[in-house]
Each structure stands twice: as C-alpha cells, then as structure tokens.
C-alpha cells in the first residue's frame, strides 16, 4: 500500500512537467507557423512596396495593406488587426526593406518570463528596379 502511494506521488510530480513539455511543443509549432505566415506577409509587403515605388500611392501604405491582406486571408482577427500589426519599411540604397511584427499567443504558464503574447518579427529585403 505504501509503495502504491509513492507511485501516485511520482505520477503527480511528473504530470505537470509532461503537460509543460506538451505545451512547449505546441507553442513551438505555433510560433513557427506564425513566423512562416509573418514571413510571407513581409514578403508580400516588400513586393507591394517595390512595385508601388515611385507612384502616387506611398510604398509604406502599399506595404501595410499587402501585409494586412495576407494576415486576413490566413485568419487574423479583423477588429484587432489594425492595432496588432506593425509594418516598418525603410529604403536602403537600392533595396526596400520591410519588417513585419505580429503577436503570437503564448500558451506557456510562466508569468513574468513571457508575456501574453510573443512578438514574431520577419524581415524581407527586395531590390528596387532601377
């Protein structure tokens, strides 16, 4: 009987770690998926900026719209997109660089270390024609 209880205690001790490990794996998968999507959004944004460069519409606005369109198509929330999406673009000498930052939900219960969101940043640099 005594030994039976020991195993139970062991199990109880191990299970939180196990759940944490599972959450870690889930979180890693989530972060990578959001990273891929953000990367694609930054690519589309940079492409839009390069194509609209030198036209009436500013390349920054075109980049932001293109990134927003990608995230919306892939299931971003319409209401919070405007506040959560951050698109920074800058002109290098003959290249246009767009950095997109988008929050990813945090599943790991480690308060103080990671906040509610993990911010994923992706950067794309495309050459300007001419």
């Amino acid at each position: 009987m005594k030994q039976k209880g020991q195993v139970l205690v062991e199990t109880v001790l191990v299970i939180p770690f196990l759940i944490l490990m599972l959450l870690l794996v889930l979180q890693t998968a989530l972060v990578f998926t959001v990273y891929y999507i953000t990367n694609y959004a930054s690519y589309r944004a940079a492409r839009a900026a390069v194509i609209h460069f030198g036209e009436k519409e500013s390349p920054e606005a075109a980049a932001r719209q293109a990134a927003g369109a990608v995230l919306l198509a892939l299931g971003a929330n319409t209401k919070t997109l405007g506040s959560s999406l951050s698109v920074r673009s800058r002109l290098l000498i003959d290249q246009y660089e767009v950095t997109v930052t988008y929050p990813c939900r945090n599943l790991l219960p480690v308060p103080g270390v990671i906040g509610r969101y993990i911010f994923i940043t992706a950067k794309t640099c495309l050459p300007l024609e001419r």
Partner: protein, 248 residues
C-alpha cells in the same frame, strides 16, 4: 506495482504522435509558404523578362529610326532616290516589330520554367486590348498616303496610340501573366495523413516604361526617338478593400 509504473508511459505514448503531428504540420506550412513565394517570384520574373524583351525591341526600333533618318537624308542628298539602304533599314525595323514579341513570349515561358521548376505560365487575356499583349504596339508613320505610294519615301515607326501608351497602362504593350503551381507533396504527412500542397496561383504584370515618364517628361514625335525603355513591374489589381478597411 509494475503495472502502475507504466502510467506515464501511456501518457507519453499518447503525446508523441501529437508532437510528431505538430512538427509535421509546421514543416508542411513552411513548405507551402516557400512554394508560394517561389511561385510569385517566378511569375514576377516571367512578366519582367517579357517586358524586358519588349523594351529591347522598342529600343532597337528607336535606334533604327535615327539610322533611317540619316540614311534617308544621305540618299536624298546624293540623289539615290531608289532608297536602297533606307528600305533595308525599314525591313530590319519591321523584323524587330514582328520578332521581339515572340521572343518575349518564349523568354517568359522558359524563365518561369527555369525558376519554378514546373507549373504553367499563361498570359491573361480579358478583352480585345489584351489579345495584342505580345505586340510592341508600334506602326509605320507615313507623311502622306498620296506622297508615299508603294513605300518609296522612308517612313518611321511610332507608337500606335501615342497619347495613351504609358499613361493608360491597359493600352501599352502590357504583360499580364497568371502562373499556376501544380499540386505538390509536402515532405511530411503525405502518405499517412494525405496532406497536399494545393494548386497555387500567382499574378504578375509588367510593361516597358520610358525613363522620365514618372517625372512627366514630354514625348516628342511619336515617342520612339530615344532608346530609353526599361521593364518595370506594375501593380496587378487585387482585392485589398478588406485589408484597407481593417487597417483604418
């Protein structure tokens, strides 16, 4: 006691497939995004290449306009009114007008195949205007039909619709392509889970631009007197209204 020892093992055994599934899903999403980006880059490259060959054709015609002017002038002055050299140059110009669009189409196709490795690249034709996509949209300019019977007097090439050529992008020698990736397999989960990368589409559009067109520089004499055309990707209308609304 031995039976109870396996309790965690059961949990782990349940968790491991889930973990593998998650990792496979992540990798599949990565490959999906990668193939989409490659397709878009290939589509851009295809449209750009076609516009590049059109720009080259226009530049060749522009150069030959000057050659024609010089040859026609010289032949008139030296009273060689059969205009042999001028006619030869006109023939070359006609050849450039006829052949460069075909070269552009071929270059577009092979550029896409080389960059994407597979798939289909087709021009987009939505109307009669687009049906002339692979043409330079230039024509011979004759001073007068009465004077020039039988093409004796050398005649230059001008843009077909000078006024609208660059300003209204639809009427220029605009290239619009739609590219399609054939359905592919992600590297993981293909057999077991029947995951598939679906057929993807990408649109791209390009046309030869005249340098200085943005700054509002005036064109003169049909706009084919300076060989200063270069290819440029131009925006292809895509539905951004939802994004615009959400970001306001």
């Amino acid at each position: 006691m031995k039976k109870q020892r396996g309790q965690v093992l059961v949990l782990v055994a349940l968790a491991i497939p889930a973990i593998i599934l998650l990792i496979a899903f992540t990798l599949a999403v990565g490959k999906l995004v990668y193939s989409k980006i490659r397709l878009q880059n290939s589509a851009d490259g295809a449209a750009y290449t076609a516009a590049l060959w059109q720009a080259r054709g226009l530049n060749v015609i522009s150069d030959l306009n000057w050659a024609l002017l010089a040859a026609g002038g010289a032949e008139t002055v030296s009273l060689r009114v059969d205009y042999k050299i001028s006619k030869a140059i006109m023939k070359v110009q006609d050849g450039a007008k006829a052949s460069f669009p075909g070269v552009a189409a071929l270059a577009m196709y092979y550029n896409f195949k080389g960059n994407n490795g597979g798939g289909v690249c087709l021009p987009v034709v939505t109307g009669l205007q687009d049906a002339k996509m692979f043409s330079l949209r230039v024509k011979r300019y004759r001073l007068s039909e009465k004077l020039d019977t039988g093409g004796i007097i050398p005649s230059f090439m001008v843009k077909e619709q000078e006024r609208f050529w660059v300003e209204q992008k639809k009427t220029g020698p605009l290239i619009r392509v739609i590219c399609r990736n054939s359905a592919a397999s992600p590297d993981f989960g293909e057999k077991l889970l029947h995951w598939k990368i679906p057929a993807q589409y990408a649109l791209a559009s390009a046309m030869p631009f005249r340098s200085g067109a943005e700054s509002g520089e005036e064109e003169s004499l049909g706009g084919l007197w300076l060989p200063h055309f270069y290819p440029k990707l131009i925006p292809f209308g895509i539905g951004l209204t939802k994004a615009v609304k959400a970001l306001q």
